[in-house]
Amino acid sequence: MSEFTLPVGPVHPAFKEPIQFKFKIEGEKIKSVDIDMGYNHRGIERAGMKRNPVQIIYLSERICGICSFSHPFSFSRAVENAVGIEVPERAHYIRTIIAELERLHSHLLWAGVAAHEIGFDTVLYLVWKNREKVMDICESITGNRVHYGVMMIGGVRRDLTEEHCQKLSKAMEYYNETLTAIEDVFLNEKTIKMRTQGIGILSKKDALALSAVGPTVRASGVPKDVRVDQPYAAYADMDVKPIVPEKANGDIFDRVWCRLVEVRQSIQIIDFCLQNIPKGDTLAEKNIVKLLADLSQAEGEGIGRHEAPRGECTHYVVLNKQPNPFTWKARAPTYNNVLPWVPMFKDAEIADIPIISASIDPCIACADRVTIVENNKTKTLNKIDLHKKSIEKSKRLKKCQ
C-alpha cells in the first residue's frame, strides 16, 4: 500500500493550540510522525528580562492559563534560591494548598477535555460542572478564578482566614463525594475503556529515554515526582508518594487513572495542610519597594522546580546587581512531553489522533519558546547549531558572574 502524508494543524479543531503534526499514514495506520512547533512563540522571557522580578511574577503567571500558580511558584523559588530568602513556614503551607487546588482543577479540566476528544461530551459537562467549585474556592482565597496573583518572592500576598479554611474543608468534602461519580464513569464506562485501553502506549523504556514528566511518565511506571524527589514547601512535612499504577501499561487509560488518583491525593494534601498550618507571617519582606531594592543589589543564579499538574516546571534566573534579571529561562512540562508523542502515535489509528495528543495534557503556548527568526527568516536549527548556541550562551552567562 502506498504511503501518504497527512498534515494536521497548525490550526485544527482537534487541538486547542497551534501545533503541526505531519503523519505518514498507510491506510488508517500512522507509520511515523513529524512534530512542528513554534507557531505560538511569544517572547515572554525576553519581555521578562526588561522587567523587575516583581513584575515578572505576573508575567510568568501568563505563560499558562491553567498552570498560573506553577510558573510563578517556580520563578519565585528560583529567585529565593539565588538570593537566599527564607520563606516563612505559613507561606509554605498556603503555597502548597493553592498549588494543590490548581492540580485539582487542572486534572478535572483535562478529564473533561479527554472525554470531549473521544466524542463523549456528556462526561465533559459532568466533570466541568464539578470543577466550578474549586474555581470558586480559588476566587474567594486569591481574588481571581484563574490568574491568582497571590505569589510573591519570599511568601504569598494573601493570608488564609478561618473562613477560607472552613470553605476549603467543605469543598474537599464535596470533592471526596463527587469524585466517586467521576471515577465511576471514567474507570467503568465501556466507551471510555474502548477508546483508551491499549492506545497511545508509551513504554517505560521510551518514557525514560525521552525524559517525559508528570502523569505521562508516572503512567508508564516511572515514579518521578519533584514533590517526592526533592521535597519543598510543605511537601517535606508529609508523606507524598508518586502515583504509579501497579501494572503500568503506559496507555491512555493509565494516564486517566493516574490523574484521577492524583486528584484524590491533592485532596489529602490540602486536608493535611489545613490541619497542620502553622501561625505566623506570610511574607519574608513585606515592603515591596525594599524587596526590589534588595533584589537589584543581589547577585547569583538560582533554579526553581515545582511539580505542576502536567509535570516538572523549571525556572532559571541569573541576577547581576541590576534591577532586572540578566537571564530568565522557563521550561514548561509540555516541552519534555513532546518527544514521547512519537512512540505514542506509532501504529495508532487516525481517529485516535485527538485523544493521543490530548493524553499528555499539552500546553503548546507554554512550551513554545525556541523559534529562531533572523532577518525575518525562520530558521530550523540542527543539533550542531543548537550546541553552538548553547556554548555561546554559557559563555555570555559566565562573563556576567
Partner: protein, 131 residues
Amino acid sequence: MIPPMLKYLIKQLFTKPFTNLFPANRVPNDTSAFLAKGKITPPIPVAENYRGKLSYEHDKCIGCYSCIRVCPANVIKAVTDKDGKRKIKMDVSKCTFCGQCIDVCPVKCLHSTPEFLLADYDKKSKNLTLE
C-alpha cells in the same frame, strides 16, 4: 449492565441547570433598556476580595510613584495635575488586575472594586481612564 454515565444523565434530567445566567443588571447601558423588559437575573456576587476594576483617590495620592515601579503592564503613567502636583493616570484597558499597585501604595489611595464588565468600543474612554 447499565452504563454508569446513564445513571448520572437521568439524575441530571431532574435537577436544576447548573449554569449561572448572565446577571442582567450588569450589562452595559445601551442594552439594559432592552433587557429590563425581560426577566432580570439576580447577579451572582463576586468573591469578597475580588480584584476588579481599580479606583483611584486623586486627592490622597502623594505621588511617590512606587506603583509605577511594580506595575507589570505599564498601566500607570506619571502626570502633573493643574496645581503642579505629582499624580498618576491609569489606562485601565491595559490593566491585568494583579493588585500589586494596591499593595505597594503607602497611603492606600488605590482600591479594587467588584466591577468586572469593562468591555467598551473605545479603549481610551472615560470609564477606562482613571486620574
